[in-house]
């Protein structure tokens, strides 16, 4: 099966023009693959010790005014929190966002690759790429690498000529069009809050508050989610970041500590 390595071709025109003393450096970069038929089993135990960063809660939904996208910011490596400030909502271009769940490196690399391809599409076709097209590009690439151990669970959210668009794309090669998705280890908790509070007719503030609450509740119950809950809105003029709140502070905002009534008070004993 031919792998889709078009995204890895070097864009530099000077790459091949050097003398061939170092052909590996002047050749276009490509994946170096182990000499094995089963990538998943190759060095499985060692790769488990590398424990690359994953674990997350992300969600996105379409409503009357556009698309709302939210995510936490924790990256965990096994039981260790490797970062509390990971950007999980990736800005592909000014009117399209991608969310990151699964392997952090996989999501970062392939979203950046998708951004490059979207820009090339714009230059080649003199018009912006649709959300359908962008998600299809990504899904096809991930399908090429199916079975090789990539871990990507992403949502592509954007606004194009047909209005708001939302697709779920994963590393199994799946691609689903939908109006409401949540991805990651914290997604069951987020779905609970999101599904019970969702109405199509919401204002932007109501939708943002629903998204924020859903992320907060997921971080409360899922150990692998936490940090800062970021909420983005995608409208006809592109995306805008609405809020970024530390989930620890959101907890006391939603559940403030109320002083309990005192029945008996201990008095200070003077001079003891």
């Amino acid at each position: 099966m031919k792998l889709d390595t078009s995204g890895l071709e070097s864009t530099s025109p000077f790459f091949g023009s050097g003398d061939e003393l170092c052909p590996e450096l002047s050749a276009a970069p490509s994946f170096s693959l182990p000499l094995s038929t089963d990538f998943d089993e190759f060095q499985k135990d060692t790769k488990a010790t590398l424990k690359h960063a994953k674990g997350t809660t992300t969600l996105a939904f379409i409503f009357k005014e556009g698309v709302m996208v939210a995510a936490d910011s924790r990256a965990s490596m096994g039981g260790y929190i490797s970062s509390q400030s990971v950007k999980k909502i990736i800005e592909i271009n000014p009117y399209m966002l991608g969310t990151m769940a699964g392997g952090a490196a996989d999501c970062q690399f392939w979203h950046r690759n998708l951004g490059i391809k979207c820009r090339l599409h714009e230059l080649a076709n003199k018009r912006r790429i649709s959300v359908t097209g962008a998600s299809k590009l990504l899904a096809n690439i991930l399908y090429s690498y199916r079975g090789m151990g990539l871990s990507v669970g992403t949502m592509i959210a954007g606004w194009d000529e047909t209005g708001p668009g939302l697709y779920y794309v994963d590393s199994e090669g799946g691609r689903l069009k939908g109006t409401r998705f949540s991805v990651g280890s914290g997604s069951p908790y987020a779905y609970g809050v999101l599904d019970s509070g969702y109405k199509f007719d919401m204002s932007i503030e109501e939708a943002a508050e629903l998204a924020r609450r859903a992320i907060y509740h997921a971080t409360f119950r899922d150990a692998a989610s936490g940090g800062v809950a970021s909420v983005y809105y995608v409208g006809p003029n592109g995306w805008k970041k609405l809020s970024g709140d530390d989930v620890g502070e959101l907890h006391y905002h939603y559940y403030p500590v109320t002083p309990s009534t005192v029945e008996q008070e201990m008095a200070e004993v003077a001079g003891a």
């Binding site: 994946f31 170096s32 182990p34 590398l50 690359h52 490797s82 970062q108 709140d245």
Partner: protein, 223 residues
């Protein structure tokens, strides 16, 4: 059918710890100098720090053979960049290059835990932290390696600044002076050496500021 374990693994872990702290106009990068394999010490005097560009220094722990290969590749790519662009690569540029270089070996990773430190285009300190397959993030401070789980909580306690993701944005520059940051790094390693067997012997500290690069050493416990 019992699982077949391979008799030989291409990987090994040589241990060690790296730390980097970014300041308003400086960057401190430090690493210990012990190289081990299993319970044996291979050498007490091995540098894990590599200067990639004038304003960019990388410290890596993990499997030093992979680290050496990575350093050579990045040095070669930097040389090509200098020939093509007639200038040194910036630290953010080198950070992206390192991420891509690590990801190209996604299916046979470099067993290398890296921390990149330097000065950005405005002269402010910057630190980038990586996982083994190239996911990276710009942070104010970071540690990687066998002693990182001991050092990171301490740095969080001393240096923790508001997350860059907060809205409204809050300023996140480490308020420490260069001398205070170097002192903090020495304290980190002195403590990590007490409790991590792979971190010991000597501490190499590299400081980058507008005056250039400055290197110093501190003795650590050798046991």
């Amino acid at each position: 059918m019992t699982k077949q374990h391979p008799a030989w693994s291409p990987y090994d872990n040589n241990g060690g710890t790296c730390v980097a702290i970014a300041g308003a106009d400086y960057c401190v990068i430090a690493a210990d100098t012990r190289m081990s394999t299993g319970y044996s010490i291979l050498t007490r005097d091995y540098s894990k720090i590599c200067k990639l560009a004038d304003k960019c220094v990388m410290a890596s722990s993990g499997f030093q053979a992979d680290v050496k290969a990575l350093q050579k590749l990045l040095a070669a790519r930097h040389l090509i960049y200098q020939h093509q662009h007639n200038k040194q690569m910036s630290c953010p540029g080198m950070a992206q290059l390192l991420s891509n270089t690590l990801y190209y070996k996604r299916f046979f990773p470099y067993y290398s835990f890296n921390v990149l430190g330097g000065l950005d285009n405005e002269g402010k300190g910057c630190v980038y932290t990586y996982d083994a397959v190239g996911s990276y993030e710009r942070v104010g401070y970071s540690s990687q390696g066998s002693g990182s789980t001991l050092i990171m909580p301490f740095l969080d306690n001393q240096l923790k600044s508001p997350s860059p993701l907060l809205l409204p944005a809050q300023d996140a520059v480490t308020p420490l002076s260069e001398a205070e940051a170097v002192d903090l790094v020495k304290t980190c390693f002195a403590s990590a050496t007490e409790r991590d067997i792979y971190t010991a012997n000597k501490l190499e500290i590299v400081v980058l500021n507008k005056g250039g690069i400055h290197r110093e050493y501190m003795e650590l416990r050798k046991d």
